[in-house]
Amino acid sequence: MLTPVEKIIFILAAIASVGFTFHGFKTIIDSIRKGRPAPELKNIPGSLLKAGIAVLFQQTIFKARKLLSAIHMGLFFGLITYAFVNLTDALEGLIPGFDLVYGGKHLPYENVPTGLINTFNLIADVMSGFLLIAITVFFVRRFITKDKALTFRDNVLLNPKVKAGGQNRDSLVVDVFVVMHVGARLMSQAFRLTEGADPFMPIASFLNGIFGASEVGVHVAWWISLGWVMFIIPYLSRSKHTHFFMSPVNLGLAKQNPRGQLDPAVPLKMIEGTRFDPGAKHVHDLAWTRVLDAYACVQCNRCQDVCPANFYQRPLSPSALEVNKRYLLKEATFGGHPEKLELPLTETVISPEAVWSCTTCYACVRVCPVGNEPMADIVDIRRRMLVDGYEIDSGVQNALQSLATNGNWMSKGKRLRGKWAKEMEFPVKDATAEPVDHLWFVGDTASFDERVIPITKMVARIFNAAGLDFGILYKEESNAGNDVRRVGEEGLFEQLVEQNMAAFGKSQFQRIVTTDPHSFNTLKNEYPQFGSEWEVKHYTVTLLRLIEEGKLTIKNKLSNYKVTFHDPCYLGRYNGGFTAPRKLLELCGVEFVEMPRNCENSFCCGAGGGQIWMGKVAPGERPAENRIKEALTTFGEGAGDKTQLFIVTCPKDMIMYSDAVKTTGNEGKIEVRDIVQLIAEAVGVEEPKVAEPVAA
């Protein structure tokens, strides 16, 4: 179809395009390779294949925004189709007589596969329509209706170029590209239809009906269509749409270790002649897999939607972190300002205040369709800030100092840890002195906080009533260190692990049970790296087993309660402990209603990652308050004479939500209870003052 001159121009342009594209991706890959060694990835081909399949079926985007995800799917399939379309279009241009309209009947070959060509033509034609619709929706969403989900809070640190609308420009370029490219391609086909409509090309035929066929038109449309492609591919490597290529790769190289296991503060893989300081100050202090994150992110802001800190109007946006990272890298590479890499992340990527707003709830990582881990970056930044002597919040500092001296964050003496147990009506075994089956790791809040101790005692009574052979570590227990590690105090975390491992070493037990999901998480996922080999269970699982084995009998069905359940981050999202609490509630016979944000999509109470230690409390509606409102909306008006309960399975939740019920003025409408309080009522175990003493 093309004239010889056109062919030469095309080939030269194609070579230039490939050259610029190669340079673009080489630059990106070089910059990714400067990152630190990442935790070892096993079976990379396998996980890339798995990621490829996930991308092909668009599985990971449907975790949120279902309708927009469906449109994204249309766009994705359209662009995949267009990869083949562009190929056949190039052949149409280069090979004389190569023409696929009308089932390829003008092709100068024998045995033309008409059926296949017609199918291809139909798919290409219909997909062109899909693409135009999808891109129009996205264009309208960004530029006409201006969906707020695509913007950042004013207090979020943004690269000046992002602030000046860099992302919108990228989006506009791609929107215009798709419209021009697809439109031109449809027209180029329409102009080819010299013999009237082709039933396998409905849209092109429709356009042909209006514009007719035209030899010149074919040339012009072809050049617009393929010219755009030659321009856009190198452009993509310099825009946020590196997403097209990097997101499947990133998904294939995503974190393989358990969610609850943080990457080490310094890489385990040593490189000769390199000394790594803990955590991250500069962008290349991050593991290379997390430098890659920036290029996979297309800035959809789903992470921002689910971020409790962002909800709380804190200056944190996980997506802004990724966006800023990519802009920083872009300025340092394509922009020719490598000196920008010497600027600390806290000035270029995320503000210190935002760093200290993260609750480490993992919602951002969980929801990310491309496998990014902004939360891990935040923890790494905290690690370095601590080592560099950055002035931290006084409340956090007090907690850490107390943890270092007392082994708990409440400035209580070690000997007071077991005080509640000594007040019990039956002896609670000291696991460091006599062998037990279950070692109960109680945790700080459940051991010391007066508001939670009654619940702790009830757990002991239930265990006792079920004949469970259990003991505690008394003064030998130290804080497990989950949140210590997540505020970035790696040295203190290691110290606490050593103290607890020493206490475990002194004791004889078969398995560990915890009441605190935070302790549960680190004991289960991180202590094995320090030599722990015990099975760790959350008490909801233990309670369920005791009931199923007949050790506890449900005597009273609690049909007088209407309840909802809050999944604690470190039990649910981190460790998949969704079923045991729900099963327990079912066994208790309560009326159960599920909040809209449940299980994987549960909304953090706002206490995790050291937030509960903060001395300063920010203004605005707190996540826990929002959650209580969500529960009340879920209950609606129809509770009748039933008592409405908000059920928790985490000592921190007990505190956060009891408080939130008061501060939202909902006392009397909803009551916060630990699940064990329901079990106690259902199995008929009561506090001794109103009941027969429980046989020891």
Binding site: P278, G413, K414
Partner: protein
Amino acid sequence: MNIVVAIKHIPSIADDLPVSGKNVDFDSVDFVLNEWDEHSIEQAVLIKEAVGGTVTVVGVDLIGELDNVLHLALAKGADKVVKITADDPAADSHMQAKWLAEAIKGMGANMVFAGVQASNDLDGQIGPMIAAYLDMPYIGGVSSVEANGDSATVNKEFAGGAGAKYSVSMPFVAGVQAAPKPPRYAPVSKVRQMAQTATIETVSPSGDASAGLAFKNMAPPVATGHAEMIEGSSKEVAAKIVELLKSKGLA
């Protein structure tokens, strides 16, 4: 600038304080660094960061566990640490002041800092006594120190929120009430690194130290009253308070 910080290891009140005989049951308590000493270390390190010099931290080792505190001081920026091995948990502020003064004497200090008080003896004596033994001027209730050449500008706090600015000639002893900034956090990794690498200079207690006071008796306080929580709506609470004030003849 040569700054010496005299510190005190004291029983922790995080636990219920056990009493045995006429004194604290020292076997059943943990020892911690006196809270005001954390401020004097911070003040010393701030001066060092501003004008240069060295910070030496010296303390009496009462129960053989002072090393942890000294490692912490090093992690916070002290250059040198010295412990006086007394091995007597009951040594009071008078005895400690004498030993500390003897140890500090040969150090050529421009400034000596001590916490203005400690929560065990609560007599604020260590600083003034060191000053007396070393024949240096003493200034207490200090909330900031700035070194300028041979003298220092010292802010001192008075009751009722009043304050005064002094120019003090070196050498002198200051009782530090608070550092201008909250004491910094020393990451545990750094403390542990100090524990592995740093050397602690050890000296024996010297000088004729004797306790100024003798214990007659020690007992936990007896609860003589308790708070009563008034419950109800704000109107009911207000009514009850009025009633209560009337019954006490106050309204």
